[in-house]
Subunit: 322 residues, 2 copies
Amino acid sequence: MARDQLRRAVIIAVGSELLTPDRLDTNSLFLTQRLNELGVSVRCKLVIGDDPADIGAALLLAIPKADIVVITGGLGPTEDDVTREAVAAALGLPLEEDAEVAAAIRSRFAARGLPMPATNRRQALIPKGAAVLPNPNGTAPGLWIERPEVVCVVLPGPPRELHGMFDAAARSRLAPAAGRRGIFRRVVHVTGRTESYVDEAASPVYSRWRSAPVPIAGQIELHLAARAATPEDAARALDAATGELEAVLGRDLVSSDGASLEEVVGRLLRARGQRVAVAESCTGGLIASRLTDVPGSSAYVHGGWVAYDNAAKTAQLGVDRG
Amino acid sequence: MARDQLRRAVIIAVGSELLTPDRLDTNSLFLTQRLNELGVSVRCKLVIGDDPADIGAALLLAIPKADIVVITGGLGPTEDDVTREAVAAALGLPLEEDAEVAAAIRSRFAARGLPMPATNRRQALIPKGAAVLPNPNGTAPGLWIERPEVVCVVLPGPPRELHGMFDAAARSRLAPAAGRRGIFRRVVHVTGRTESYVDEAASPVYSRWRSAPVPIAGQIELHLAARAATPEDAARALDAATGELEAVLGRDLVSSDGASLEEVVGRLLRARGQRVAVAESCTGGLIASRLTDVPGSSAYVHGGWVAYDNAAKTAQLGVDRG
């Protein structure tokens, strides 16, 4: 495939549970980040149920709008999992059992001393001409289907399987065809200031970073984005941007590597060889809880007192009743 | 519009930020719950950027698949907000300034002693024939566009404006046309048991509740769903289901009204007029934090000790070194 052919992606998440009030498709966030790093922008996201007709219609709708269509979910062994069959039918490709895949699934069960359930056999059915993407974390293989007009990548829904397969197999196949300036992101944390203050203070910087918009989320994060050919070039660009933000935000800037406030506090205590104890009232244990959320925090967190009612304040902390 | 005409919905979320690795469309969860209660099922969800062509294409794609298309986002006053214009163009409707809407926006600014910015005037442009859905929490009015083939409802993206407008204006317009058996949900919390144990114990119940699937989320929630003509009928059906679950799960069932473990603990302490103090170690304040997350918990939470390292265990709690 020619270089620079993959520019626009459509992500299709398959799963009837994703159309209830209880579930969101979060796989698309991981995929968007990976695709952006390869210079592929996401033009549209679709969520549809486990319905062959809807899956086929979504795929055919997406093809003219995208250079690459990523479909996640519905590759499991149960009758509800119809993505494999729906994609094959929509693209007019017959399904053929892949001996290697069948053997791999069989050995995966054998390794646990189990026979392969008949239902899992379906997972060895591959659309004619498709390449198989091995699944390091499960039985469902992924599919790489290259057509003149589009590349169709079919990945499993469970995040662990999806992430493993994308990084192990899909990414390397996409890179040569994408291979353009990727979009790399960095999150800067700010604390102790209002959103409007941060917005005003930071705007002179990010107004000069038009190509790197800085939306501000509720808890005051600055999201920097830079287009670059390599992660190294991106790092240099983002270092420059964060340097400028540090200059205007000073000590209000907590971290420029995505680290949370409690992680930064932990780093400082470690660096100084200091330990901390907390005395809390209305925070009710939240400070201790956040400090101890950080792995290895026992190295610098002694413990603390939660004096929630007035009696406790007096008894534990000797606070004057007055 | 004839009764029972609105069965299937497509939800379209508009916003380029929703196509980055940092943001998810969560409005669709609220809309799905409300639509389900009206007996409308969600067939497909789309997320697209602030692009007139993409918005128009998404709408025209959705119409043949749905009785109702709900579009959220892109109704703001800035140049990025193009949903109003895109929908009007896609449906072939000219935009006309609505005097009442313009007056409402102007008075909203006047109330704060501000003149109406020229940009906000755009928010008074209404597609010919569309009904205006007032916005109790903002300046952007919503749109109700009834066509022979579909009802198109356009709502603002900010959750507070979306929720307020749906419940105040959209719901009552949908109800007569939907008016079928709605889907009502209830969440049952279980604690102290593994997912597989709960799955096995509960399956005899929910196998007889086929129409009410019970997916099990990580923290072991049982999600019951019942189709019913009224909330009262649904409540009776769900009471019966939770009663059966209580019979098989016994004391492992924490609540059947969605209340969290800490809320239930609080209710019990209040009922018994008891107060609680906690002594924590590796939970590092999490127990105190969760207990005090409940509004009014100062009525029964005294406070506690977070003895995180061994020195603290000995000093605070007199734990034997041995």
